[in-house]
């Protein structure tokens, strides 16, 4: 794995983490909500423009994973600076895909600037996907009481992947 690539721990911010998603009915609202977090954190210049990039990616194939995980993502000129929004939902939010879908409890939305190389883009996505396979990591995310706990879990996880 490309070690020089973007680290999630470096771009995940307190303003882009919500550990108690509430009042969100469906996938569309979920994605719009996470995009709003990125917008307020100054990561994107236009919510609508970035939403289109995310929706285009969604149309290509599911970003819903097993184990209550979803990793929607988009690469767009609307992204000023790479960002990751993380939302957690206790009961899960229905995440519709071409193949059915499922309940998403841990949702990471990746915002990637248009100028980032495909290699770097995929390296970030790959790292997050690999991290989420580990039950220990997911357990830490479920147990996190605050942003700092999420950050610590991501840091530790990324360090473990780099050691290999």
């Amino acid at each position: 794995m490309a070690k020089g690539s973007l680290r999630i721990a470096e771009v995940i911010q307190p303003e882009t983490v919500d550990l108690e998603l509430s009042g969100i009915q469906d996938k569309d609202e979920l994605i719009r909500y996470l995009i709003a977090l990125l917008y307020r954190a100054g990561k994107i210049r236009s919510e609508e423009e970035f939403l289109r990039a995310v929706q285009e990616r969604e149309a290509q194939g599911p970003t819903f994973m097993e184990n209550f995980i979803a990793i929607p993502h988009g690469k767009s000129e609307a992204v000023l600076q790479a960002g990751v929004a993380f939302g957690r939902s206790g009961e899960g939010i229905w995440y519709e895909t071409q193949h059915g879908g499922g309940r998403a409890k841990l949702i990471f939305l990746l915002a990637i600037p248009d100028q980032m190389s495909p290699d770097a883009y995929i390296a970030v996505l790959a790292r997050l996907a690999r991290l989420l396979v580990h039950e220990e990591f997911r357990t830490e995310l479920y147990a996190a009481a605050a942003y700092e706990d999420v950050l610590e879990a991501v840091r530790r996880g990324e360090a473990l992947l780099d050691e290999r």
Partner: protein, 104 residues
Amino acid sequence: MKIVALTSCAGGIAHTYMAAEALQKAAKAAGDEIKVEVQGSLGIEDELTRKEIESADLVIWVADIAVMKAERFENVKVIEAIPHDAIADASKVLEKAKREAGLI
């Protein structure tokens, strides 16, 4: 036992890596040695050599799209599995593959 696997998924990049990671984790837990090649939109990562493939006890394709450089596998028995299953329960996929290959 020595296992080689490759993952390739139509569903998306993240799935391909998730399946690879899940297989590595499951193999480690079972005390097996494994190398996993990832075939994604950027090409091949951690490419398996013909020698590695031919010296492995178990060869698994976890793919739902055409495998690149499939000729490397022409002399071995390949067990096939579905990426979705590997992400959901890689231990089960490995065990099933071992059984299918007559190793257990």
